[in-house]
Amino acid sequence: MSLELKDVEKRYLNRASGTVINALNGVSVKVEVGQTLGIVGESGCGKSTLARAVVGLEDPSAGSITWDGQPVDNKSKDRLKSHHSKVQLVFQDPYSSLNPRQQIGDSISEAIGVHGLVAKDNIADRVVELLQLVGLDPDLKSRYPHQLSGGQRQRVCIARALSAEPKLLVLDEPVSALDVSVRAEVMNLLIDLRKNLGLTYIFISHDLAMIRYISDVIAVMYLGKIVEFGTWEEIIENPVHPYTKALIAAMPDHSIIGDPTMLTRTLEGEVPDPVNLPSGCSFHSRCSIAVPSCSVTAPSLRNLSNGHLVACSEV
């Protein structure tokens, strides 16, 4: 079993200005069951659009997404529901993804009810089981979201996603909104759940430190495209694409201290507007090794060695 994306494109029409936003510009990637794919990139690179497309919340403008050979399809309610029993999404903000006026036990039992996986009489027991699974005291089920801490709320969101007994969890910046000292707890929980339930993850983040910690393979995205792909060791230890290199250099890190020159290794300029994509390689305007042909021809992903892929003609 695997999740496969082939040349996925997504464009949004801005009705007010009549312009087209190019969110995804041909993404192909395959996630094998049991693997964790980390997707890293800055705002506007399309990583959240990708997450939404994978769970069927967005319809790709072109290309295909298949799970176990079956196309992900949000045209039919039934097929979308059956997709959601295999693929679930956990959002960044556990404050806005829980109903503030619903007790958390009800939030979870509602999700169990939708998928009809548990007999009505057993739903209450299943809620307790799910809360314990994510390391929460079952007594919390009668609490409201505002009575929980950020870390507890994110655990509730994870429990709710797990209620559908999915095979794949798409985690869109699951720890970014949490305080530093509770991030580690949630990361450890995700790693334990992956092992105990045999889950597959797509872990999306702008934080390379977290991506590096949890991923088996990493895809680096820039302006709606994957620019580099490989095992986590290859991407972190042996990055090839100039954007990946810049991203790693800019990653705040506490292992090197008191060295102001660390701050000067920076990437010039800003991410171009996804409405007017640059010609050729979309990174050429900020690239230190760009040659004239980079602004003409867009490089496609090519295999450097053993599945380490890079989209750059100059490396």
Binding site: E42, S43, S149, G151, D179, V180, S181, V182, R183, A184, E185, M187, N188, I191, H206, L208, A209, M210, R212, Y213, E233, I236, A246, L247, I248, A249, A250, M251, P252, D253, H254, S255, I256, I257, G258, D259, P260, M262, L263, T264, R265, T266, L267, E268, E270, V271
Partner: protein, 321 residues
């Protein structure tokens, strides 16, 4: 050694009605030209401490004890007129979100001129001065930028404008409250490089507030670690990172994945959540989450003991490595 530029002593901040302690007897110093980072999680009191220096505490919150000595003046006793004169000239601030800190319906040039106008007389050279300030922080096409509104700029460019505004009147102290938290990492790096360079060039003191230890590792000289309204540890960057003494600092550092750790060892987490500062009482605020806590820790509050280079508030510090 010279006298400190800023000396905060026994500063307490609490709500006015139904008094609740938010910051509990905080003391620290900033030397001329020195950059100090304040690290803490949400609710630790780091932002309130910064706002109290500027006399900008939110309504219903006030300083309840202690003094804030800036360049020979006690700011807790200064008149609002004196504070108005200091703000933006001797002490200026860069906020987390430039979109809400800038006026959305006023052209940027006008907003920067207003800073000069509120402290000095506008003169023929004022526009050139504003343009130079924008050029200095790397704003392209400055003449056009002067005529633009904040929404026409990206988050990174807006933050550059904020920095230009804060540096316009050559402050002695720049206070920055998580100014890069909302930015992408490569843009964050650009802003950190810019601020670091400007500070050195001007020999300006700086107070940098953040929740991210990685951000300040190469930016500041000394660090203050806050927890539930208290300073639990302070010291030079190398002491804090290489030889943390407070179990909280130690726990915080071991909960971060490091770029150089090839083993991907399990992250050490700190169990529980921070206490509310007003519920701490006369105990160590971290005791309920601390693996070294004893009866002593809940019997009284440890004081911050040590020197500028290294001080810790703990009965059972980690000990030297």
């Amino acid at each position: 050694m010279s006298n400190p530029l800023l000396s905060v002593s026994g500063l307490g901040i609490s709500t006015v009605q139904d008094p609740r302690t938010l910051v509990n007897s905080v003391s620290f110093e900033i030397m001329p030209g020195e950059a100090v980072g304040v690290v803490g999680e949400s609710g630790s009191g780091k932002t309130l401490t910064a706002l109290s220096i500027l006399g900008l505490l939110p309504r219903g919150v006030a300083t309840s004890s202690g003094s804030i000595n800036f360049d020979g003046v006690d700011l807790t006793k200064a008149s609002s007129e004196n504070m108005q004169n200091l703000r933006g000239s001797a002490i200026s601030m860069v906020y987390q979100d430039p979109m809400t800190a800038l006026n959305p319906v006023m052209k940027l040039g006008r907003q920067l001129l207003e800073v000069i106008e509120s402290h000095e007389k506008l003169e023929n050279g004022s526009i050139a001065r504003v343009e130079a300030a924008l050029r200095e922080v790397g704003i392209p096409q400055v003449e056009r930028a002067m005529e633009s509104y904040p929404h026409e700029f990206s988050g990174g460019m807006r933050q550059r404008v904020m920095i230009a505004m804060a540096l316009l009147l050559s402050p002695k102290l720049l206070i920055a409250d998580e100014p890069t938290t909302a930015l992408d990492v490569t843009i964050q790096q650009q802003i950190l490089a810019l601020v670091s360079e400007e500070r050195r060039k001007r020999n300006m003191s700086m107070l940098w507030i953040t929740h991210d230890l990685g951000v300040v590792a190469n930016l500041v000289d000394r660090l203050i670690v806050m927890y539930a309204g208290n300073i639990v540890e302070s010291g030079t960057v190398s002491e804090i990172f290489n030889n943390p003494q407070h179990p909280y600092t130690h726990g915080l550092l071991s909960s971060l994945p490091s770029r150089n750790d090839k083993s991907r060892r399990r992250l050490t987490s700190i169990p529980g959540v921070p206490q509310k500062p007003w519920l701490v009482g006369n105990t160590c605020a971290f005791a309920p989450r601390c693996f070294k806590a004893t009866a002593e820790c809940t019997a009284s509050a440890p004081e911050l003991i040590g020197k500028l280079e290294k001080a810790v508030a703990c009965f059972h510090p980690m000990g030297d490595k």
